[in-house]
Amino acid sequence: MKARDCTQDQRIWQIDDIVADVFQMMLRQSCEVLGDAAASGIGISAMVLLSGPIEAQCLVEFPHATAKKLASALLGSEDAAEDAMIEDAVGELCNMIAGGWKSTLGATASASDLSVPAISRSRAPDRIPLNGCSLRMRRTYAFDNSPFTVSLAIREPLGNRSSARSTK
């Protein structure tokens, strides 16, 4: 395996760890990796952008039923049926994943800024040019048998590409 492939694998595993930590800490639930295929029936998506020396985007996509389940689990109650609350829950999840991911990207990334989550009722369009990205990945996860997808893309200086830090 080439060194760069190994680094990309490590970065993907870091994302798996970050997503798992968010679910374990905030929802007390496990979250399993289903694979690289996108979850079907996307109803709500949230995107956080990283801008500065490193440019990146973090997109999470939820079927509506999964998003409703997420909101209920985060709030510890079933009264999270309001659409605004459900969208807010998806945005907050995206925010935590993006923040955790940023902290693994090394010192260069700390000078980049995270945006507030942008919510969309469909798949959000890519916001950074994806050609030339040093990492593009898509992972589908499931909690409580409910799937959702996380997609990441990053454009970074060449010198930063081997500096991803271990999260564990």
Binding site: L75, D88, E92, N95, M96, K102, V116
Partner: protein
């Protein structure tokens, strides 16, 4: 001793999670005021001061539209609002250099998201006197 807490976060879900965590961390919570950004947070502090109601603890997200956590702290200081009241800043971006700026501007605690109930408990216990804690409170965020 019952306490009044101001929770400032643009996410209403996170505000509710934090309020629930505070209640379950053993705090004798009389009232939790919610604000969606730093500007609303300043208004809540001014309203409380006008009514002579004390705020005992402020939880403030760093990353918000309109007025962010750092600018809230600086403006709070400039207006001399709630002097001496402990402020805990909360962020999903632990690598943000503004967190250090917030500590320099008076924040006494920091919490990274995601967090555990234990982290909230530890932080609150370090900032509030023991009499502010309900004697029999136990539990967890989602129990």
């Amino acid at each position: 001793m019952s306490v009044r807490v101001l929770i400032i976060d643009d996410s209403m879900v996170m505000r509710r999670i934090l309020e629930s965590a505070l209640r379950q961390s053993g705090l004798d919570l009389a009232e939790a005021l919610h604000a969606a950004n730093g500007m609303e947070g300043l208004a809540a502090l001014e309203n409380s001061a006008a009514k002579d109601l004390q705020i005992d603890l402020i939880l403030c997200d760093m990353h918000m539209p309109v007025l962010n956590g750092l600018d809230f702290l600086l403006e709070k200081q400039r207006r001399n609002l709630a002097p001496g009241v402990p402020v805990v800043v909360i962020t999903a971006d632990a690598s943000d250099p503004q967190v250090l700026d917030a500590v320099a501007a008076g924040a006494q605690g920091t919490i990274s998201k995601p967090f555990t109930l234990e982290r909230i408990k530890t932080c609150v216990a370090s900032l509030l006197p023991p009499v502010a804690r309900a004697p029999s409170a136990t539990g967890d965020v989602h129990e």
